[in-house]
Symmetry: C2
Subunit: 162 residues, 2 copies
């Protein structure tokens, strides 16, 4: 079937210069930042553990940790191993913890499309009851959108016309 419509998409009238999705990805969307975030979410908080577990080069790891602290996604908490000098471990701030819906949605998409045949390597669980957690779409009128075709992007209050 050959489509013959020539409607101009309305999105062309709007700027993407201040798109918050692109900005979010500029903050933490590079591969090594996401690896660091994964380690901290998994409870791996110390430099040496992270380096060993993730295999990220020490210099890159150090840069990414400093960047994520600067961005307010991680915070440094001092700790002192017995007989050693004070070091720092990295914890998620509220801004960092608020990435849980993003990571949960990513983990679900990944589980559906790119996991091994045995199943996903990681899943999210409800701390209280142990059941698996999913990112679902719900609107302000309380409707649950089980079909993604029911979602439509539109300019928000900060949208700028071209």
């Amino acid at each position: 079937m050959t489509v013959t419509t020539t409607t101009t998409p309305s999105a062309l009238a709007w700027s993407t210069d201040n798109c918050q999705v692109a900005r979010a990805l500029d903050v933490f969307g590079d591969r090594s930042s996401l690896v660091v975030i994964r380690e901290v979410f998994n409870g791996v908080r110390r430099f040496d553990d992270m380096q060993r577990h993730s295999g990220v080069n020490r210099q890159v790891l150090s840069n990414r940790l400093a960047h994520l602290v600067d961005e307010g996604i991680l915070r440094k908490v001092p700790y002192q191993p017995e007989g050693s000098r004070v070091r720092h471990e990295y914890r998620l701030t509220q801004k960092g913890l608020d990435l849980y819906p993003v990571l949960t949605a990513l983990a679900e998409w990944g589980a559906r499309y790119v996991a091994d045949p045995e199943g996903p390597a990681v899943e999210m669980a409800h701390r209280d009851c142990g059941a698996e957690v999913h990112a679902v779409l719900v609107c302000d009128e309380g409707h649950r959108l089980d079909d993604v075709r029911d979602v439509v992007p539109r300019p928000g209050p900060g949208g700028r016309r071209l």
Copy 2:
């Protein structure tokens, strides 16, 4: 406060080699793939429109479109402008549409933390009722997790011990 615990995080016993989150990001997580995906979600489906709207270099855009078609996230649909040869526009497959929860979660995080003072540039809406759509976390027991601290990652069925 200096923490003195020395507990070894259990995540260190598990491999991240087959992490589906990392694999998902390898498929579409680079900056220009995400820009292309944004354009198509926004209804901008034709090469020239996309190029003009996104400002992505033609060669890069062409590569990214081919890559996303290969990955099964986009599909090519022929169309024929009047008096011109047949061209192709790009539509989301089900695999592509299933990125909606990821994009919705990203848009919400971005709206909270990196949007302009006037508000987010883009928001998601429910096609039927027009209300804004959010990505919320719900467990299989039906509990809604309003506090992200109630989520905990754990190895899934494909998890591999180190």
